[in-house]
Subunit: 195 residues, 2 copies
DNA sequence: GGGAAAAATTAGCAAAAGATAATTAGCGGG
DNA sequence: CCCGCTAATTATCTTTTGCTAATTTTTCCC
C-alpha cells in the first residue's frame, strides 16, 4: 500500500480527522514487523512507544516468582498498544509484550507526538475519544470480574471474540480470564457435555 | 467557605489551572447534598452529571435477578463520579449510585461543560490528565483480579485504603472484591488467626 | 435503654478451583 | 514421516468458594 493509500485508510478509520492531521503523525510513524514469538517490550524497560496494530496479536504478561506467565492483556488489529507503566507513569514496564503471531505495527514515540496532538484540536479530540473507548473497555473487564463467574467470563469471551481461540493458546486465555489452565479445561468439558 | 475560597481551593487541587479556568466551571456547578442512604443516580435513568465528591462516599451497585446487590465501584473525597454508561454511551445507567454517608458533591452537567473544556487548552489538558489517572486506576483493578487471590485483594485493600472499612459495610466490600460476604468473613478469620 | 432490623459470623454441605503429576494430543522442525 | 516439545486434558487430592440457613453481634431508631 502506498503512503497516500495508507493515509486515506486512517482518515477513514478515524472519522473526524483530516488528511493533514493523519499526515502529521504518519510522517513520524515507523512500521515495525515482529515475528511470532518475538518480544516487543521487555519487562523492566521503559518504552514510550505508542503503536497501532495493523495486523497480528500482542500479549502482555506478568512473570510470577514461580516462573509462570499470567496474561494481562491481549490486543489485536485496529487496537492501540503501549506500556501503560511507561506512558502514564514514566516507569519501567512491569510486563513483557510479545507477539503471538507475525505482527505489523505502526509505531510513534509518544513523547514526540504528544505536543503535536496537544496543539491540534482534531487530534486532541480523537485522542480523547479513543481514550474513552479504552476506559470503557477496561471498566467492562472489571465488571466481568465482579459480576461473572469464571465460566460466564469464558462464555462471554467465546461470544464476543470467537476468533481469539484460534490465535492464542488456551493456557494464555485462561490466565487472561483469571483462572488456571487446568480450570479452563474443566470448564470447557462442563460446557461441552453439561451435567 | 466563600466562593473565592472554594475557587482558590480548586486551583490548588488541580495544579496547572488558572483561577479563571476554575471559575468557568465553578459558575456552572451546583452543590448537591445527599443524606446517608440516598440514591444519587437511579438505575435505568440517564444522568449526564459529572460530580466531584467534596465529602462523603458513593457506592455504585448492580442489582442481580435474585435481588442481591453487587458493588461495582466505591468513590470518595476528591474523586470524580459519573455514570459511565450515560457519559460515554449516552445510555441509561445500569447501576444505582447511592450515598453511603452524608455526601456533598460539586456537580456540573457534562453536556454543558464539555464544549467549554474542549475550547480551553488548560481545562482540556487537566481533563486528559484526570482521565489517565482514572484509566490507570481501572487497569490496576483489572490486574488485581488477574494476579491476586481474593485474600490478597483484601489484604491489599486494607493496606491501600484502610479507612474504607469504617465507612462501608463488609458485605459491600466483599462484592467489590468479587467474592461473597460469607467468603470475606472466612478470609478475615483466616488472617486473624493464621493456620 | 430497649427492641427491631441489618450485618457479621458460623455451620454444613456441594461445587468449583488450585496444585501437582501423569497422560494424551497436537504441532513444528529436521 | 518421525521425533521432540509444548499444549491440553485427565486424575487425585486439598483448599477455597458458593449457597443456604442458623446464630450472634452490631446498629440505629423510637
Amino acid at each position: 500500500m502506498s503512503p497516500a493509500d495508507e493515509i486515506a485508510h486512517y482518515v477513514h478509520l478515524f472519522k473526524g480527522l483530516l488528511p493533514e492531521d493523519v499526515t502529521q503523525l504518519y510522517t513520524l510513524a515507523e512500521t515495525k514487523i515482529l515475528r511470532a514469538g518475538e518480544i516487543y517490550i521487555q519487562k523492566g524497560f521503559i518504552s514510550q512507544k505508542l503503536a497501532l496494530i495493523s495486523q497480528g496479536l500482542i500479549r502482555a504478561y506478568h512473570l510470577q516468582d514461580n516462573g509462570e506467565e499470567i496474561t494481562i492483556s491481549l490486543r489485536w488489529e485496529q487496537q492501540f498498544l503501549a506500556s501503560f507503566d511507561s506512558i502514564i507513569h514514566q516507569k519501567p514496564s512491569r510486563f513483557t509484550y510479545q507477539a503471538m503471531e507475525d505482527t505489523t505495527l505502526m509505531e510513534v514515540d509518544y513523547a514526540t507526538v504528544q505536543p503535536i496532538i496537544d496543539n491540534n484540536p482534531r487530534l486532541s479530540a480523537m485522542r480523547h475519544l479513543l481514550l474513552m473507548q479504552i476506559l470503557s473497555q477496561s471498566i467492562e473487564r472489571i465488571e466481568s470480574f465482579v459480576l461473572l463467574s469464571p465460566e460466564e467470563r469464558y462464555l462471554r469471551l467465546i461470544q464476543e471474540k470467537p476468533g481469539i481461540f484460534n490465535r492464542v493458546p488456551n493456557k494464555h486465555i485462561s490466565t487472561f480470564l483469571g483462572i488456571t489452565p487446568v480450570s479452563l479445561s474443566r470448564i470447557r468439558k462442563r460446557i461441552a457435555r453439561p451435567r
